[in-house]
Symmetry: D2
Subunit: 357 residues, 4 copies
């Protein structure tokens, strides 16, 4: 009986356990023995950390947040951000990992992770390890798949928060900034902002002028008296308005981009608006997944195991047009899928009068 290892790496997101459980159940039915490596790539380095995964041991975990395998954001493997050579993992580390896997007779790996993790997987393959990948990004910003797990849950958590915040904004006639995840792309902010009735949505893809936002808020507050602004953490103020870059960066680092924007608005329009800022933070990551995330996570887990069984090593599973397909891992790393001005969310928000840049 062949042994297949499962590991996940990088930040946690809702649905990981459902992927793991589905891969285990499917793999077991296909005649594999499954083991789970703990704490991402660390689990296959010295000392190896792993546990047997049986259908019984993964029963009843699919609706739980987090990951039973644990995870890390850093480590000896794939820690580097960036592109090209800067992402090379030292050959001796890769070799040690490959040797370790051989030692415990692992036939190959199901690797669940984002851009960085999958880049590591590509390199480990070069040392003879068979790999099928499952894309993981809470930001839903991979080019080759319509939907990743964890995203729907993050959006729903933000919308639930917005529903609560609207009532306070209205009652107090305030402008409230709500900061969401999204360092490089603004899908969470855009979908949640649209669904949750935000009046402005600020994302990394569309540079904006604070002066324009101030003008928008003046008109809006005069008419409607309250405003809710969703800001992705990577939202960008246009260069022309940033006089003291270092100072701005320090302020963002300490209090977040929402807080920084609030200060900029106050500086441009002193005393005009009663403003508040809220940073949603980690509640977007964890907890029980939405129905949609559970479905897609289970489908990823099943399909990854079946792709492995079919011998499609070097691929990741992708959700395309409501079906699961496999694509080369390399196709899944690198460029991000950004919010564009012809995406449904952008078009709808703009038609509804939302300030988008």
């Amino acid at each position: 009986m062949k042994r297949v290892g499962i590991l996940n790496s990088g930040g946690d997101c809702s649905g990981l356990n459902a992927v793991i459980a589905s891969a285990v159940k499917t793999g077991h039915a296909l005649g594999y023995e499954l083991v789970g490596f703990l704490k991402g790539w660390e689990g296959i380095l010295d000392p190896m950390m792993y546990r047997a995964l049986t259908p019984e041991s993964v029963r009843g975990i699919s609706h739980l947040g987090g990951t039973i395998l644990g995870t890390v954001n850093h480590g000896r493997f794939g820690a580097k951000q960036g592109a090209g050579d800067s992402r090379r993992i030292p050959a001796e580390i890769l070799k040690a990992a490959a040797d370790n896997l051989k030692k415990i007779e692992i036939d190959g790996l199901i690797v669940i992770g984002g851009d960085g993790t999958l880049s590591g997987a590509v390199q480990l393959q070069e040392h003879g390890v068979k790999i099928v990948g499952v894309p993981k990004t809470i930001d839903n910003d991979l080019m080759l798949t319509a939907r990743t797990f964890g995203f729907s849950t993050a959006v729903q958590v933000v919308v639930d928060a917005l529903d609560r915040i609207h009532t306070t904004a209205t009652s107090h006639e305030r402008v409230i900034f709500v900061e969401t995840m999204g360092r490089h792309t603004g899908w969470i902010a855009f979908r949640a902002g649209l669904a949750g009735g935000a009046h402005a949505i600020l994302v990394p893809e569309f540079e904006f002028k604070v002066a324009d936002l101030v003008e928008f808020l003046r008109q809006r507050q005069a008419m409607y008296r309250s405003s809710v602004i969703v800001v992705a953490e990577g939202a960008r103020v246009g260069a022309s308005e940033v006089y003291q870059k270092a100072e701005a960066e320090r302020e963002i680092k300490l209090g977040g981009i929402g807080n920084h924007l609030m200060n900029m608005v106050e500086a441009m329009a002193p005393g005009e608006f009663e403003m508040r800022n809220t940073v949603l933070g980690h509640i977007q990551r964890g907890g029980t997944p939405t129905a949609a995330d559970r479905v897609v996570a289970k489908a990823y887990g099943c399909e990854a195991m079946k792709a492995y069984h079919r011998g499609e090593y070097g691929t990741v599973v992708a959700y395309v047009n409501q079906h699961m397909v496999t694509v080369p891992i390399e196709a899944c790393t690198g460029a991000l899928k950004e919010v564009t001005s012809d995406s449904l969310e952008y078009v709808t928000a703009r038609d509804l009068g939302v300030f988008v840049h």
Copy 2:
């Protein structure tokens, strides 16, 4: 300024208010005056019932369940079920409606509804009324659109219920039947069952044998001690097992299909299982929509109004491959999109060992 009327008809579902609000805001921005007809088609017959719809009057309604326009399941218009001539609305009714609209200078209608409602729309067009349709079916079973609003919410409500019911099933080592909506198609049952970890999913599309279900339950209860079975209201027992059709139909009518199945299982395996039945009923229809339903509902409302503005009368808006398109109304009525054995939900459930027929 042209006046456009908005109406919805048939059963309510989450997201209706978001469609209405978006259509009104978009229409207003495009220079239209909007009115809402009350209680479906009844609102355009004698006595006409309608109210002005302004951006102000639809503020803050998008996250509320139900419809501010009211709705009916029956009426003088489109009441008949069936196909072909049986669905013809008497010409004098259609003419009266068209005349009424002229009387109050309505340029045309945005009609939100399902198969029956849109069939009425087709007939009203023949009397010179300009119409753009928005598809509405909580069952997500229209051929030409990937997603209708209300469906995601219904699925989430069922999954929330399943999460609660699992703990009771496990604690008491019971077999619990959970009946969901889905008279003709099983999408709600299938997606919710898969997401919610159901052990059997029974839908109209796949006839099954109760004897097979009993055998499945015997094996499952021996190993795992508890089972949760999701049954769409239209699930069908194979003809070979139904001895007394009239009796069976009466029982289903009174207590639902889940109750009927429970009785059949008990008859085949007396005393073997401790069983319970629960009918989720109307909680699947109403209440605040999920983030996903709000996004899609808003997109439908915007796009319908823009299609009207572009003069694409006689079409319905459809959500295809993450974009909004328009298709002829006729293409949207008639055949239903059924759960097939190559749909992702079916394949995943089967791979995970769920009893599907």
Copy 3:
């Protein structure tokens, strides 16, 4: 090190796991070894079924519904309903249980259960078993404690359902009956009905006339067009209106009291109202407990173990005036706390114009 057993019996309700986990953690800190008996009293009969309970084994279970010990509604112990001698468990069963406990050196028991379970505990004590009880009733109808766990969760589940159902009732101008738990007392129905804006609340404590309800509905529908009626499963129609008792009972047994009332209203006012019925059923029992239920469940578990440590055998823990006290077990069985016309919920509902009888 003394061994203390924990068992729960009867229907499950939210918070059981929190009680168990707290008792285990507290007991462990006080120097006890804990074991959990499975499936209620059955676990201490032949064959005994139990497992060790350590702080580690109960980590992370407090927010999960159900009970890790399993439970049954019936069995060889305390199965009988009723009063006085009819509740006597045969002496040989009690003796066998007491002997079993001695065999595995159990010092005594923490027993979590309702009226029937605690009545069994009283009898087992007579055979020399030390017992401290924790009251369990989802209906919150014990005389000597202000709040039992599971009740807050059940009420919240009903209110969430009512929020959804209101939007359907309003959109369709319907009268919707919602059946809740509450065979003997109406606390769930009353609190949930009041919180959820029900227009009529029907509970076992207050017999009512269907004719009065019809009259109320006539006035209400004329003015407001929609009505939501919360009915506890044990709600009672006054004797004067029940002509065919056997028929009525059969109808209630099949379709529930809400369905029966709907039929009675239809018979008295044919075609006047568009009515629907929904039975909430098992979703009220299971699933993650509310914050309030978790707090009270944890307090019960801690206090039970501390009472055991203080040697207060023969008592149950009770929550009185925001503190935990102990009272004799006997004081907790027998009479139920009913909704009275001077309770805050009744008074408030009546002041707000809710039909209560």
Copy 4:
């Protein structure tokens, strides 16, 4: 027909609309005409801002967050914090308000507010205005009432967040700080922390040493690998550890107390823990109230109006031992009810091994 005014002032919290709606319905039934003053006390100053409140105009608002009357945290009336003379509102303001009320023939007021608002009410009474108060504090820290509305909702929101955060803490083996409301008292933090399984709960009432917390975390992380710490915004580090008060205050002001503690822990134990901080902020205030908050809010609204009708001016309604009573307004201002070491929450948390100071 006598006119009674309703106003609320200070920060919004869940349940305000339920109080207003109940007061209006009850008042209407008792024969009063009701008006609502907007934006707290500002509404009775120049220019007066008010609207008629009828049973129809408050239909369907009880489950909505915020307040239909709007509110402010500041203003010409009662703006001052503090005690004694510092809280005196200038006599000319009070007189102007009283004269305004006479001008529009207001018989008296129902005033919903916290300590500051009720202190204003006491002073306005001296100018001949009849007042009945309803206590409002999201912190549930009034001496004379067991439960205020909004508190249960805030606690539930925190617990929902903790459920999500636990899964991330566990998956990443982190120490996560979660900051809740509670500047002067720690009820929200304590109840939510206990319910949500926090491992440390830090509140204003119990000064603690960061060095002790570090020691606790060392032991905990060694055994369990993850920790969740709930910190009320007013939590206090013991004076002996604060070397640079001004610096500490600035840091708390910018990033919150949780962030500050994280930095202190890092300074004492560099690199030992992977830590994160999250500030829940405004989501605790707004949004739909829990069932418990709706019940208590409705009871407050009804009882306030009935107390007014009985002529019990100068009182506030209080919820004591599950009944509504009235107490002199003065008794409700001033001292706060703090978390004490014999409160059920404290005792239970300590028994369960939670770090409380």
